[in-house]
Point group: C2
Chain length 404, copies 2
């Protein structure tokens, strides 16, 4: 059963669909929580299941450095490693190399960089990025691209886009030659060194991957902040036939209306029958608007990172939990929210936890913010299916006014 | 329905019983997790419920400083504050004043101290400690005592013991005059400022406290490391008629055989029909031995604090999860453990989380260690009921050899 994407309903440019991957089905539009190092920070996997998370993202750069690709592969790939048997997507590592590492040097071959952890020297090329992602074994993997910085001159943006296109072909070539090396391609690997019959039984209860399946490689549109380059990048990216396409290099410091313009410039040239993934966005209001532009998948650290800093998203707007006005507030974070944090804990208690620097603050805040994002996407999807998305959209505050 | 304690079975000096408190029943012997600031660090309340926690401990010193007693009282007391509707015990604040605060000055009146948070000046007296504990509203509260330091001369230990006895009477007098001020004595307080019908409904579903109930005040035996003073302290402490008695001032740096000797010196003089609480102990092996000495209740930060430092307790002994030999170990922490961490995650993954300083490490490690302690106590209790405790005890490694 190869990767599959089906559109169930459309409303304007917005689409409601289903994506079938080796580790399960994902309803779209979908927001993917970020689980950088093989963990969505502060939240256990059973809680992610309760929240209804259908796919999460791991960062190749981080797992490449710790615990290392060979280690994850030896442990059965990211799903078995983190005991999460639903779909996972890995990025190419490129973005973190650009944003985190030191002494980065970009050549036609790839990117030489030093680890942000210990300064050790490494090199990512299209081939080594895809090799790492095959080793990690996520369901969806990303071509190696250059995230063009902002601002960038037209010439620089074009040169960068051209290199990303050459790297796309190299990513594709390497993937085609090696895709059957993914750890779950054949039979399930034996459970090495496990002394517990109970844990083996639990692992074996998980639905196995149908033998012979491979990962899905997505290409990435670049082009800086130039609409014509975005269009050209989209047109030339889809010449490489792939099961899905992403729009990268946005939300890198540009004003929000410019982001919308770049998405609009690329979307019409992406195939209608394949998923469209807008990388690294956005606020709760923005993700609704990106769906209106025709986007199917998004990821962002915002709900989880903001939670750890005490910034909570609610149906009534943002809320900074450390604010003194919540000290005696017996209400929940969000009266409209059905999450288990809002059902149990008061703002007063959550403020106390945050002010006291208690670990539980980070867990509970993150659970709520993820619930808010996932619930937003569920309501978006439902409104598309019911043909009521325009009404839903009109109730969302213009997002360029509400960037935090 | 006043506080009640019933013994169901004995085996040697060990006892299996049931303690009835305003917020529920506790099966003894019981290990009480420490929830310092109104949270068992890194673990959500629903997970504590899943673990079968029947009572937990809050620290008066910490809650007095943050968020303050009046705040907790205004929010309905510790149970409603932390959304935990099972029994809670608060200590008197004395131990933290001795161990954490700065510029402490002890007089007959009480203890003047400076906050470890901001250096502000405060005073705890027997009266103000009991007032704080009535304000917090735990089911079981503790008399204000002086924890005698170790080593201490015989004269110093006697003087300290005498003051604790005078403070016990003052604690009792204040409690008798003010016990009806506990927030749940009359009707449930209104839910102030709660904008959510859902949360109000959830709160109202919790079993209410039968009107007219008060807290249970326990006295504390001191006497340093002198068996005759321990005996005298026990004999004179029980002259103040109270529903339960604790043994304090142990596990303060003395060798373990001395701890056992002091427990043995006090226990025969404590009433058989009342619970005996040994404060601030111990390792998994030690708590089994204290039960053998006739102890019914214990608390300790060891399982939770050790977990946060990567030290895990298992049926095969201690395990330091950061150890490189676990890097590729697919087994669970403890093959014999039924907790949800052992059922799902590998040592390799837990090592990765710990080595990467991920928050989830602290949560999962703590859940396992608490499960191990609680499971140990359940097995102890069962073996007492079956008359097999001697056999169970003989399988436990001599605890004075295994202090971490």
């Amino acid at each position: 059963m190869p990767f599959r994407f089906e559109i169930e309903a459309t409303d304007g440019k917005a689409r409601a669909g289903r994506m079938v991957t080796p580790h399960g089905v994902i309803e779209t539009p979908v927001f993917m929580p970020v689980g950088t190092l093989g963990t969505v920070k502060a939240v256990a996997q059973d809680v992610l299941e309760e929240l209804g998370v259908e796919i999460l993202l791991n960062n190749t750069y981080h797992l490449y450095l710790r615990p290392g690709v060979e280690m994850v592969r030896a442990l059965g790939g990211v799903q078995r490693f983190m005991a999460w048997d639903k779909p996972i997507l890995t990025d190419s590592g490129g973005f973190q190399v650009f944003s985190l590492s030191e002494l980065r040097r970009v050549t036609e071959d790839g990117v030489a960089f030093r680890s942000h952890l210990d300064g050790s020297s490494h090199m990512f090329t299209p081939e080594s990025s895809i090799a790492a992602q095959i080793g990690l074994g996520a369901d969806i993997i990303m071509a190696f691209d250059e995230c063009t910085e902002h601002p960038a001159s037209r010439e620089r943006a074009r040169d960068s886009m051209e290199m990303t296109l050459r790297w796309l072909q190299r990513s594709r070539d390497y993937f085609d030659a090696h895709k059957e090396e993914v750890v779950w391609f054949g039979e399930e690997s034996p459970i090495a060194g496990c002394s517990s019959e109970k844990r083996i039984a639990n692992i074996e209860q998980r639905p196995p991957v149908t033998p012979g399946q491979t990962q899905a490689l997505f290409g990435i549109v670049q082009g800086g902040m130039y609409p014509d380059l975005r269009r050209e990048s989209a047109q030339r990216t889809i010449e490489v036939d792939l099961p899905g396409y992403a729009i990268g290099g946005l939300s890198v410091g540009e004003p929000r209306p410019m982001t919308y313009e770049m998405v609009d410039a690329a979307i019409p040239y992406l195939p209608e029958n394949k998923p469209r993934y807008l990388m690294g966005v956005g606020t709760p209001e923005e993700i609704v608007h990106y769906v209106a532009q025709g986007v199917d998948m998004m990821d962002c650290v915002l709900p989880t990172r903001a939670a750890r800093h005490g910034l909570l998203f609610t149906s009534e707007g943002r809320l900074t939990i450390k604010n003194a006005r919540f000290a005696q507030d017996e209400g929940p974070i969000d009266p409209e929210c059905n999450c288990k944090v809002c059902g149990r804990y008061s703002r007063a208690y959550l403020r106390h936890l945050y002010a006291s620097n208690e670990l539980l603050a980070q867990t509970l805040n993150t659970v709520h913010n993820l619930a808010y994002y996932l619930d937003t996407m569920r309501r978006v999807r439902q409104s598309i299916i019911l043909g009521e998305f325009a009404t839903f959209l009109s109730g969302v505050k213009p997002p360029h006014l509400s960037v935090p």
